[in-house]
């Protein structure tokens, strides 16, 4: 209140013909609006700072460009020609700078070897990429069908009272810290699976994948259940009214209507698996090798950051490369989130509108 702190006697007539400036309101609004921007600022800062620490890798590249001429050919699958040209452009200006012996770090980025700690460090991210892909695929193949089927049961078949129990119990899984799931995978799952499948390395992409799938189950389950419940009741009632069974209604009416929502659920689950660090660290074996065998060890992108960041020298090439991996992870999950948010949501909206 600007001046309203006095007594309001009956004679003190309140006038409204002029806008009053109320400091506390003005101030509160300014504070609230600025703080709300903080979320945007944090996202931008994450972008900036994670990239900033990754960036020197490309600068270093220029420094050693001269010495890396030969090595470029060695890089795997041809690093994109644009950057190679840039390197060439900068050679003249930079050729007199200090030259580091060995390969230029960026030229090894796409190679098949991840050997950051050696005399001739190699930062080939390919095995990490493929490893992440393999684990993610296993996790998704395990978690997505299981969660979607469970969600279908919960929303279509379960009696209301049973649903009231199932939902919170499955959502409890979301409250398990990933280090606990990782520990369970490391101590229990690994041994159980080894007994069943008889593979050699106890910790491998299969164990890791299943464990990471566990972390994704509550996300996919909850969002799928939401998507199924969001299908207008009139659809279901119309179908049941025509004499279709619950199963037929579920599969021919509700499920098709909820497809975009389920996709969004799977995409967000994928994001969770992709970025999961602790479970990967504890259950995948952490060997950076390229293999198609699900029972071989892998090293995922996020686990690499988790395992190596504590040991690197601040500002070192290895440090920069780990931040580069972080940048890639960030871009990827950001894109997945944007996809789920804008693309699938619009699909849902369009779907219901066209059926109105």
């Amino acid at each position: 209140m600007a001046r309203g702190t006095g007594k309001v006697a009956k004679s003190d007539i309140v006038t409204f013909n002029k806008k009053k400036f109320r400091f506390s309101d003005w101030f509160a609004e300014k504070v609230i609006k600025s703080v709300a921007f903080l979320s945007i600022a944090i996202v931008i800062l994450i972008f900036v700072f994670v990239f900033r620490e990754a960036f020197p890798i490309f600068r270093m590249d220029k420094k050693v460009a001269a010495s890396s001429e030969l090595m470029v050919q060695e890089s795997y699958g041809g690093s994109d020609s644009g950057s190679t040209e840039k390197v060439a452009d900068n050679q003249v200006g930079n050729s007199n700078k200090t030259q580091t012996p060995g390969d230029s770090p960026s030229s090894t980025l796409l190679s098949k070897t991840w050997m950051p700690v050696s005399d001739n460090p190699r930062y080939g991210m390919l095995p990490l990429f493929l490893g992440t892909l393999k684990v993610t695929l296993i996790a998704l193949l395990f978690a997505a069908p299981l969660s979607i089927l469970a969600a279908i049961y919960t929303s279509m078949f379960a009696k209301p009272r049973i649903r009231e129990v199932i939902k919170p119990v499955i959502e409890l899984l979301a409250g398990f810290p990933s280090v606990v799931i990782g520990f369970f995978a490391l101590m229990v799952l690994a041994s159980v699976f080894q007994n069943i499948f008889g593979y050699a390395s106890r910790l491998n992409s299969f164990v890791g994948g299943i464990a990471m799938g566990l972390a994704a189950i509550p996300i996919i389950y909850t969002l799928t259940e939401d998507a199924l419940t969001a299908v207008p009741k009139t659809f279901t009632e119309a179908s049941l009214g025509l004499g279709a069974s619950r199963r037929q209604t579920a599969f021919y009416v509700v499920l098709p209507a909820a497809v975009p929502g389920i996709f969004a659920a799977v995409v967000l689950g994928l994001g969770r698996i992709f970025g999961e660090t602790m479970i990967a660290l504890m259950a995948t074996g952490n060997a950076a090798m390229i293999s198609m065998n699900p029972f071989d060890s892998v090293r995922t992108l996020s686990a690499t950051i988790g395992a190596e960041m504590a040991e690197v020298v601040f500002g070192d090439t290895h440090y920069n490369v780990l931040f580069l991996i972080g940048s890639l992870l960030f871009i990827f999950t950001f894109a997945l989130n944007a996809l789920a948010e804008f693309y699938f949501k619009n699909m849902v909206i369009r779907k219901y509108q066209s059926k109105k």
Binding site: G4, T5, G6, V8, T15, F16, N17, K18, K19, K20
Partner: protein
Amino acid sequence: MNEIKVKVKDLSLWYGTNHALKSISMDIPEKMVTAFIGPSGCGKSTFLRTLNRMNDLIDNVTIDGEVCIDNINIYDKDIDVVNLRKKVGMIFQKSNPFAKSVYDNIAFGPRINGISQKSILDEIVERSLKQAAIWDEVKDRLFNSALSLSGGQQQRICIARSLAVNPEIILMDEPASALDPISTAKIEELIHELKKEYTIIIVTHNMQQAARTSDLTALFYMGDLIEMNRTEVIFSNPAKKQTEDYISGRFG
């Protein structure tokens, strides 16, 4: 007839593209009860809410025209809506006491106006509750939750709460529609008392209530003001066929 308190000129209101009020003009006299009647969806509540700019809270509303209170157009750019609402109180259809004690409910208005002295607050609370004819019923449980009272009592608490900020006009949006006949009678009695000091505008779809409580009655239909006149004229000798049809129950 008393002096004009509220003067409405060519007021139109749109919800998006829906023309909900069509060029309404009327004069509302001071210290009398004016009732708005009409079938649901006719615009009477919407119109009531334009009188203290409650519609500002709803997105997508466009308003054109003038509402002058004491000769000041409340839709002028420079109007202080907060102070306007102190002058124009409102009672809602569903009683809406805060989840606080009876005392804190009544003291809410004075407190936001910066009154914190206990003795003054006590005095305002007692005076308002007495004015709203509920003091005797709640004086022993001022510090119990207002939500523990009956519906009729809650509504009178809301009236007392609004009186505590010294309004000049009280808008009532179907204040008794959710209440039993006895509580309704009490509210109507209260309205009768309050009009000695306050200008009261009441929306109701209960025609008997309008006939019993109001001095003037206005009939709304589909966003138009059909007819407005002294209540006894509206109910005995309306000028328009539509009014006659409505009060005799032929539509709405």
